[in-house]
Symmetry: C2
Subunit: 180 residues, 2 copies
């Protein structure tokens, strides 16, 4: 991966996350990156493809994060897999995502047509997360899987209007009560 391309993806993700997709122009992105416009178009065919790559990159990091911390918490604690996922998600929230879910935001801004590539990618991401949760503990019922999904989405959304520390603390308490 070219360093320029990586820089563009990094800067784009920050700007999109802070201001939304439609309100950030490509000019702002290249200016902020200190990279020429034609270099952006050399790496990405369009703004839409840039967004797709930003989402893919963030999904990879999120899933890696979830995998790493649920495995890390595996040893030495009596927490169930579901509680560990909640804790790992809260850590992600606290470190990288106190302004909502970038995927849902993308879906909302491009939600006109449900077959839009961006919308498809977001749906796939949510499905992947659900599968990850299900496969982390196959003894859990579909209802319990939905419950954990709801808890994670709730934590993400609530930290947009409420102190993240408070949300994280309460989320873990609820996870322990529901899945402990």
């Amino acid at each position: 991966m070219s360093k320029k391309k990586e820089d563009l993806l990094h800067t784009s993700e920050i700007l999109f996350y802070d201001h939304g997709f439609h309100s950030i122009g490509l000019k702002k992105i290249v200016t902020e990156s200190g990279i020429a416009m034609m270099t952006l178009y050399n790496h990405f065919a369009s703004k839409e493809e840039l967004i797709m790559n930003v989402l893919q990159r963030r999904e990879d990091r999120y899933m890696d994060h979830l995998n790493f911390f649920t495995n890390l918490l595996d040893e030495g604690t009596s927490h169930s897999a579901f509680v560990r996922i909640a804790v790992a998600h809260c850590r992600w929230l606290n470190d990288y995502a106190s302004k909502g879910c970038l995927f849902l935001r993308a879906k909302e801004e491009y939600g006109a047509t449900s077959d839009h590539p961006i919308v498809v990618k977001v749906n796939e991401h949510k499905y992947r997360l659900k599968q990850f949760i299900q496969s982390s503990d196959t003894s859990r019922s579909p209802e319990e899987v939905i419950s954990l999904c709801l808890l994670l989405e709730g934590a993400t959304a609530l930290s947009e209007s409420e102190n993240t520390d408070t949300v994280v603390q309460q989320t873990i308490k609820m996870a322990e009560r529901l899945f402990g």
Copy 2:
């Protein structure tokens, strides 16, 4: 309230909710409403003020909805106030809000400056909801208030990627378990 103004607010809310605030132009709104552009500017000083009025109108309807159904459920059930709020919110979700929270979406799209009028209005809305929850049962602890907020936000967010009926069913189950 002028009928034209009401029509504009109605159409704007639908379009903004379906496509986002930045991606909907005023031209689309007046075309869809069958109303002249100058009439829009006669009723609203700017797009920002139109959005503020859309949010205010939706907040009023949401709070009326919550008030009405929590009171309705009051008689004849053994549900706690917190469970009744969850049920009322789920009904709103099912009827009007299966594509996320319009307020959070506004905050996300205009979240650049935290003193932006739209952001301020959204923060006030979330605070108002929290106060409503707290005052519905003063015996509940601050932690329990946060828990219910998280449950409501989670239900709203999850119904963007999961069948709303499923989300509603599970949300009520969780509310009964947590606050029954």
